[in-house]
């Protein structure tokens, strides 16, 4: 089967899994302006941005010969659960009759889920499937670890762009690794390469840390969020993303009893603000902002597609979190109309503010220390 899938984040992972199950993978090209234009042309005007970009990706993948598209489903309340219906209908209207394999929750419709798994499994023997799954899970974890490192050190690189270049190279190395040994090698080599990058030395107390939260697609896919991580890094801030693939897989794919992941903790933190799950990642976004402020981050960038239903609710709640914790939050909504220069200016201004706030906090801290030492000297 010539299969394809929506482009999001570190795509080598999905590619690897499908290849190991014996499918021919048609890689959708990384979204570009052309992809977006194509998607916007056929999608409903007020559909959320991810739907439009993915629509464009599908057209491009079909152009390259994809016959089957694998995607995730859902049963709301977020619109993402309905993407496939709309995509399929639009593709049909344009004369493309491709097959979709949609993974809805396995607990809701077990029969279809198992059928889908069987289709994907094909003639691959079971032990090989398990091997493939295990290997991909391992790979996601390793890639995420390296990526977190990248997001930290890129803020201090001496040669602009070096870290990004090396990170791309590392992903290629992982792409070529098909055995566990090769995977381990790629990981070790990647770590060494990252460690060899020349960095400016910045003292611990002068480091600025920014968290990125929001809707998963615009957070994970840097080609449509104006390369937010790189932008923040280039302004001298360390970045941590609210979502990494490994966490998502652990939370969504594994049974509940091994699920004491990060995610549960985050959801708990959001309870005072948003007691129930309202779909998408609204509850997570709220919890993550609280988490970042507790962990002493200097600021949060909140990304969402224009008109995103759940994130609009979290956006409405953010001023209250800001009041309670004093953490600055910048909300940016993205769609095909987003102007890069405009948003860049906003982010730069935001980082300036965050930096001066950081400095203020430091000098406040010093004063407090002086005060307490004074206090000690006077009493002593």
């Amino acid at each position: 089967m010539k299969v394809s899938f929506p482009y999001m984040g570190t795509t080598v992972v999905y590619k690897k899994l499908l290849e190991m199950l014996g499918h021919e993978v048609i890689m959708p090209p990384k979204p570009t302006q052309k992809t977006i234009n194509l998607g916007v042309k056929y999608s409903p005007e007020f559909a959320c941005f991810p739907l439009k970009v993915i629509m464009g990706s599908y057209f491009e993948a079909i152009d390259k010969g994809a016959e089957v598209i694998i995607t995730s489903g859902g049963h709301g309340p977020c619109r993402a659960g309905f993407y496939e219906r709309v995509h399929r209908r639009i593709l049909e209207a344009e004369g493309h009759f491709v097959d979709f394999i949609v993974f809805d929750s396995m607990f809701r419709d077990r029969k279809t889920f198992i059928e889908n798994v069987k289709r994907l499994k094909g003639k691959t023997p079971l032990h090989k499937v398990i091997h493939a799954l295990w290997m991909v899970y391992d790979m996601i974890g390793k890639l995420d670890k390296l990526e977190m490192e990248v997001q930290r050190i890129r803020a201090y690189e001496v040669n602009r762009g070096e870290t990004t270049r090396i990170w791309e190279h590392i992903q290629k190395m992982f792409d070529k690794a098909y055995t566990r040994g090769a995977l381990r090698n790629a990981y070790d080599k990647g770590r060494k390469m990252l460690a060899a990058i020349e960095l400016h030395s910045v003292e611990e107390e002068n480091r600025i840390r920014i968290g990125i939260v929001g809707e998963i697609y615009v957070v994970m896919e840097d080609s449509i969020n104006m390369k937010m991580e790189q932008l923040l890094n280039s302004l001298g801030a360390e970045v941590e993303r609210s979502q990494y693939l490994s966490q998502w897989v652990t939370y969504n794919m594994l049974p509940k009893w091994i699920n004491w992941s990060h995610e549960k903790h985050i959801l708990k933190l959001s309870d005072p603000y948003l007691p129930i799950q309202i779909g998408g990642h609204a509850k997570q976004s709220v919890g993550q902002i609280v988490d970042y402020s507790r962990r002493g981050f200097d600021g949060v960038v909140h990304l969402m597609p224009f008109g995103c239903l759940p994130e609009l609710v979290s956006q409405s709640i953010i001023p209250k979190i800001n009041e309670d914790f004093g953490i600055p939050v910048l909300t940016i909504s993205l769609d095909e109309q987003a102007g890069i220069a405009n948003n860049q200016t906003r982010v730069e201004a935001f980082i300036d503010l965050v930096k001066s706030k950081h400095k203020e906090r430091l000098s406040q801290g010093e004063k407090n220390i002086n005060k307490s030492t004074q206090h000690v000297t006077t009493t002593g």
Binding site: P44, F46, P77, F82, V86, R89, I278, L312, V313
Partner: protein, 337 residues
């Protein structure tokens, strides 16, 4: 003690229920005035700019009720009224938006979580426990009030299904209008008259400020209007059989079914989809129906509204649309004859 009910969102579907319920408990009910410029501006200022106009209006009504001096404000959290389906995420997070945007009124909000398996809200009394606790009401009294509210609401739905528009159906169910009198005013269906299926949420269509009174505009043009709440549940359900996946938002699902009902129903000459700018569920539903209008050979028009909508623009568009439909109908009858 006065409980304020905002005249927005599902007020237009559940007011007879809520009013009867509270009055049966001996609580005075206060309703905010019909949406006007002041209410709209209050809401627009208080909300996130990107959110859809009905939510903005809702916030305006809440603030207006505070100004009017209501002791409690009734802002239910709508989660689900059908198994496996939800409300739009904005409805689910609405009470949180309100209590965090206006912390000074947070303690005066009544927030029952509405989670039932049918759209008859009396079927799961446990969702009203919050009201028992906050207002000091016994479970028995609560049950009695729910029973009464249910009867009135079912009566209201019955009037809707007979073809009455919601304000009339409400008045009839609540006894402020006499049924005999009303029956006489229904105009007989005329020969060259056209019938439109108008798709839109009750809180947009029946809020004359939001919809710019599209329904009376159509009536003035001598157009008969059918909306989703006039179609029996059973017929809506039939339309959805065999669809691999339907909308998972209850009211969108009903509109979706109503859309196909209108496509299949011979007496309907065309469809108008009235949708709020930035409405998430409608962006999907509208596209799917629009793509199918070719298949069913029935005209389909989208009217998008928000707080900046212009009256003249709307008037011109619907006039042109209705003229087109009339001409089409005349041509068809001539050919037929």
């Amino acid at each position: 003690m006065i409980v304020g009910i905002p005249r927005a969102l599902l007020y237009h579907y559940y007011y007879p229920f809520w009013k009867t319920y509270f009055e049966e408990l001996g609580i005075e009910v206060m309703v905010s005035p019909p949406t006007n410029k002041v209410v709209m501006d209050l809401g627009v200022k208080a909300s996130v700019p990107e959110i859809c106009v009905p939510i903005k209006v809702y916030l305006g009504h809440v603030l207006e009720l505070v100004n009017m001096g209501a002791d409690w404000i009734f802002v239910p959290r709508f989660v689900s009224i059908q198994k496996g389906q939800f409300f739009c995420p904005k409805f689910m997070g609405l009470p949180d938006m309100i209590r965090h945007s206006f912390p000074h009124i947070a303690s005066r909000l009544l927030i029952p979580a509405i989670e039932s398996t049918t759209d008859d809200l009396a079927t799961s009394p446990k969702q009203y426990r919050e009201i028992e606790e906050k207002l000091g009401i016994s479970t028995a009294a609560n049950k009695r009030a729910l029973k009464k509210a249910e009867t009135v609401w079912i009566d209201f739905r019955r009037w809707s299904l007979k073809g009455y528009e919601i304000p009339d159906a409400m008045a009839l169910a609540l006894g402020t209008k006499n049924p005999q009198q009303e029956a006489a005013t229904i105009i007989e269906h005329q020969q060259d008259e056209i019938t439109l299926g108008v798709l839109g949420y009750v809180y947009n269509l029946y809020d004359s400020m939001i919809s710019l009174d599209i329904l009376s505009r159509l009536r003035e043009m001598n157009v008969k209007v059918k909306t989703f709440e006039m179609i029996p549940e059973r017929m809506l359900k039939e339309r959805l059989i065999g669809m691999p996946k339907t909308m998972f938002w209850t009211f969108s699902d009903k509109l979706f079914a109503a859309g196909y009902h209108f496509y299949n129903e011979e007496s309907i000459d065309g469809l108008i989809h009235v949708t709020a700018f930035g409405c998430g569920p409608d962006s999907m539903l509208g596209k799917l129906l629009e793509l199918d209008s070719v298949k069913y050979q029935k005209p389909f028009m989208t009217v998008r509204i928000d707080e900046h909508s212009g009256e003249n623009h709307l008037q011109t568009r619907i006039e042109a649309y209705v003229d087109m439909l009339r001409r089409k109908k005349q041509l068809n009858t001539q050919r037929g004859a």
